[in-house]
Amino acid sequence: MSLTFQQLGPVLALILVGFLPNEIWRLLGVVLVRGLDETSPIITWVRAVATAMLAGVLAQLVLASSGGLASIPIGVRVGALGLGFVAFLIARQSVFVGVLVGETAVILGAYAFAP
């Protein structure tokens, strides 16, 4: 099983190793909740698990950045996230304001603390 992408063609490879292994989790979600309703304890717990996983994704994006973001120092990334959040709270929970301040902070910080 050491087939490579060049042998299979890009679209077939996309379906076999991109679409299917990704979609299986969505499909399992559909199958597993047949017959359960919104207020059942299991769904409440599952929603808490999903929320915690989402927070985990967020932490990973900021702390263990890959690609271009990795070139910006970790202190700048965490600091900009914090500044954005404070701005969000001051601006009565406006996500737009928070994102704008956070983005500005990360760009200025990356200039100021360029490695």
Binding site: W25, V33, M53, G68, S71
Partner: protein, 263 residues
């Protein structure tokens, strides 16, 4: 729910419903299209629309850099619709074996199971067919899920599937637009700007999730996930996102359960 299934049995037999209207949820098709457009408009008003444009500018540039065609990249957005999995595909397909790529992709997508599982009971009503849920299932990604969980409760149940589909289609178009920009700007984008575009996602996630967390359960699950995520990742046990979700989510649920029991 007992009340729901009783209600379901009072419905017309399935064939009769089909004969009068192709929408088993009982909505006239035109009305359902209006709700879909409402969902699409909600996507345009969402901060995630702009976040996805930004994020997928980065994705388009990446795909261009690895020599993929524009059509292939757009198809991967339509079919996979998960940024981390797409990054893995684009950056490893040329070098790793297909089995390795498939394993990496599937490990990055575990989060969809609890997301879809938590979402579907909000969409379903008596008489909803499984296949009507396939499109909402496929549209489910972090951005669509976060906005869906926020906006769906204010919608009547019979409108929710069409609304969620509109929301998903709207946010997916943002990714397609961003991807197209990125693909053509790839060689002209300054590296710092390209990097800062990727910062849109964590910023928007943090704030949208905080705004959505109204109950103690949501807040605890989110806060604990944020703290425990990096701790668990540092243990290098593998599958750290799954463990983060299970441990932090279960602790939050236990606290919620104890408080409810005391009332």
């Amino acid at each position: 729910m007992i009340a729901d299934s009783e209600h379901g049995s009072q419905h017309m037999p399935e064939q009769e419903v089909q004969a009068t209207s192709p929408q088993p949820s009982g909505l006239p098709p035109r009305f359902s299209a209006f709700i879909f457009i409402d969902g699409f408009k909600a996507a345009l008003r969402s901060v995630f629309f702009y976040v996805l444009v930004g994020n997928y500018v980065g994705m388009g540039a990446l795909a261009h850099g690895f020599g993929f065609s524009f059509g292939w990249m757009a198809l991967s957005t339509l079919l996979v619709w998960a940024a981390p999995a797409q990054v893995i595909l684009i950056s490893t397909l040329g070098t790793a074996t297909l089995v390795e790529v498939a394993v990496a992709v599937t490990l990055s997508s575990v989060r969809f199971l609890p997301m879809v599982a938590a979402l579907l009971p909000m969409l379903r009503r008596a008489g909803t067919r499984q296949r009507e849920l396939l499109l909402p299932m496929h549209f489910t990604a972090i951005s669509v899920w976060v906005e869906g969980i926020r906006l769906l409760p204010s919608r009547p149940r019979e409108q929710r599937i069409a609304f969620y589909n509109g929301l998903g289609a709207g946010l997916m178009s943002a990714a397609l637009i961003g991807g197209a920009f990125g693909f053509y700007l790839a060689t002209k984008l300054p590296p710092l700007l390209a990097a800062s575009l990727l910062f849109f996602t964590p910023l928007a996630l943090l704030m949208s999730a905080s705004r959505n967390s109204r109950t103690l359960l949501d807040r605890l699950a989110f806060g604990l996930g944020l703290v425990l995520g990096p701790v668990i990742a540092a243990q290098k046990v593998g599958l750290d996102l799954m463990w983060t979700g299970l441990i932090a989510g279960s602790i939050a649920y236990a606290v919620h359960w104890v408080r409810e029991a005391r009332r």
